[in-house]
């Protein structure tokens, strides 16, 4: 199989709002950073571009047609993936693996602050005859999931609150993060109930920003990059969209289990907790980080909360998780969530993660979930080892 490396990463400034630039100017900023990070690539030298976005979020439809100019992709092969940007990454990777292309871009963005009625966009994604007619805020689905997860695993609301406290604390050391804070379990537990047991602080708040990543064939990576980061494995899976037949998928993130299995197999990983050094894992809701850690086979079901509270997933722990601050600390970047997590893993593997740098890390995991009401996840294994 043709090997593929990440040779450039660019992230725009992030913000809870971004009144100073349009979303296309924001992507342009990330693209310029990415191309300079790759040693000063001109977009003319890039073979193809993959953007990840969803209609309705941009205030326009057929968003794919708006992709080219801000990436330097006018009159080039361009493709859009309606999903998380790590699904876009998988597509960009496959472009290179055809052997026909050497340099391919994956890009994504969030301009969440422009979305006036996000709950309606999510409602529109819910089943139109069994769920939408209830007229409820679709985040109730997360409340149902969390309740079932806590029931099946014996995890507590305090364990979930500790996820929030740790991630927001980690975010204090990430200059890009929007929602860094020093908080504690009591404060999180005391935040307003929204869809109990889900509380206001259990939910990652939205942020604006763009991430652009440049992928290269092995030949091109050796030519360009001082520190290529290799994609060792990738996997993705989607559970049924029907809430009525999700079965095990309510309490367990089955999509994550399957995505990880595929990625681990490709990377030759049999004991993820020991063979992977650290991870950036979806924490759209606090309980999701714990549920995902278990589904990714980092620990057994019902263990994640306890291990978290013992410090296993902190900087000094055996398996650091979300040193970036995660979505709870950085901000929820919609389809760009996955690429941001990937960018964090790349910075760590290059030794460029500043004050959040982990010592001697060789292999990292990025995992993204597509959010309510979906059951889609993508796992990527990256390494700085040859």
């Amino acid at each position: 199989m043709n090997r593929v490396a990440i040779v450039g990463v660019g992230c725009s400034r992030l913000g809870s709002t971004s009144r100073d630039v349009s979303y296309r100017e924001m992507i342009f900023e990330a693209a310029v950073k990415c191309y300079e990070d790759a040693g000063g690539i001109h977009p003319q030298d890039i073979d193809a571009f993959v953007a990840s976005s969803e209609d309705f979020m941009e205030g326009i439809s057929i968003a794919d047609e708006y992709v080219p100019d801000q990436l330097g992709a006018v009159l080039k092969p361009v493709q859009s993936i309606t999903g998380d940007s790590l699904q876009g990454l998988a597509s960009a990777m496959m472009h290179i693996q055809t052997g026909q292309m050497d340099l391919v871009v994956a890009s994504s963005f969030s301009k969440a602050s422009n979305v006036q009625h996000y709950e309606n966009v999510v409602s529109y994604a819910c089943d139109p005859v069994t769920v939408r007619p209830l007229g409820e805020n679709p985040y109730f689905i997360a409340g149902l999931e969390m309740q079932r997860y806590l029931y099946e695993t014996g995890t507590s609301e305090a364990h979930c609150a500790q996820v929030v406290a740790e991630n927001k604390y980690n975010a204090l050391f990430n200059p890009l993060a929007v929602y860094g804070a020093k908080t504690d379990i009591e404060q999180v537990l005391a935040s307003p109930q929204l869809f109990s047991p889900l509380k206001y602080q259990d939910i990652a708040h939205h942020a604006d920003g763009a991430v652009v990543v440049l992928l290269a064939s092995e030949r091109k990576a050796r030519e360009l990059a001082k520190k290529p980061v290799w994609i060792k494995g990738i996997g993705w899976a989607t559970d049924t969209p029907n809430l009525d037949s999700r079965q095990d998928g309510w309490g367990d993130a089955v999509y994550a289990r399957l995505a990880a299995r595929q990625a681990y197999k490709m990377a030759g990983i049999t004991s993820p907790r020991h063979e992977i050094c650290f991870a950036e894992i979806d924490d759209t809701f606090s309980y999701k980080q714990l549920q995902h850690l278990e589904a990714l086979n980092i620990c057994a079901r019902g263990e994640a909360g306890k291990l978290l509270c013992q410090g296993e997933f902190s900087r000094q722990g055996g398996f650091p998780v979300n040193m970036s601050g995660g979505s709870l600390g950085v901000g929820y970047l919609h389809e760009a969530n996955g690429l941001y997590k990937l960018a964090e893993v790349v910075w760590q593997l290059r030794g460029e993660a500043g004050r959040r740098q982990l010592d001697g890390v060789k292999t990292g995991l990025a995992f993204a979930w597509r959010g309510i009401p979906t059951a889609t996840g993508v796992a990527v294994i990256l390494s700085n080892l040859e």
Binding site: V129, L134, E136, P138, G143, L144, Q193, F195, D244, W250
Partner: protein
Amino acid sequence: MAFLERSTKNTENRYWYPEENTFPVSNRYTTGVAGQRFFGELKDNARITGTRCHSCQVTFVPARMFCERCFARLDDWLDVGSEGTVFSYTVAYVNRDGSAKPEPAIIAAVRVADGILVHRLLGCNAGEVTIGMKVQAVFRPEAERTGSILDISHFRPV
């Protein structure tokens, strides 16, 4: 290769895509062969129906035309009754638009046969709900039923 300009004053950022330029987008959604029959049964007979896949030993509720697991055609229609058990539940404190509800509402995932119906749970307070609790669908009067999931008014404890 970068732009050198930025807005530096919020008061200067005037040119939004204006609210007045938005327009409603609406559409129809075809419930399909199985949906037509499922919602017809709700409306006409106050009956919840499922279809059984005999090779997977699963009864889908709401009824489907095909099994999502083994891809078989499903034509064994069953009346699955109006009772189920609470599979999960949540207490919603806010409406769709984020405004506070006057009274928190219990929303339950109710297991009926092998399917799950998500619906309101009335007739008990939040502290009384438990996973595994038996509940029953309460139908609207025939004259008010329209062929919608809301023909079930709510679930209540048995």
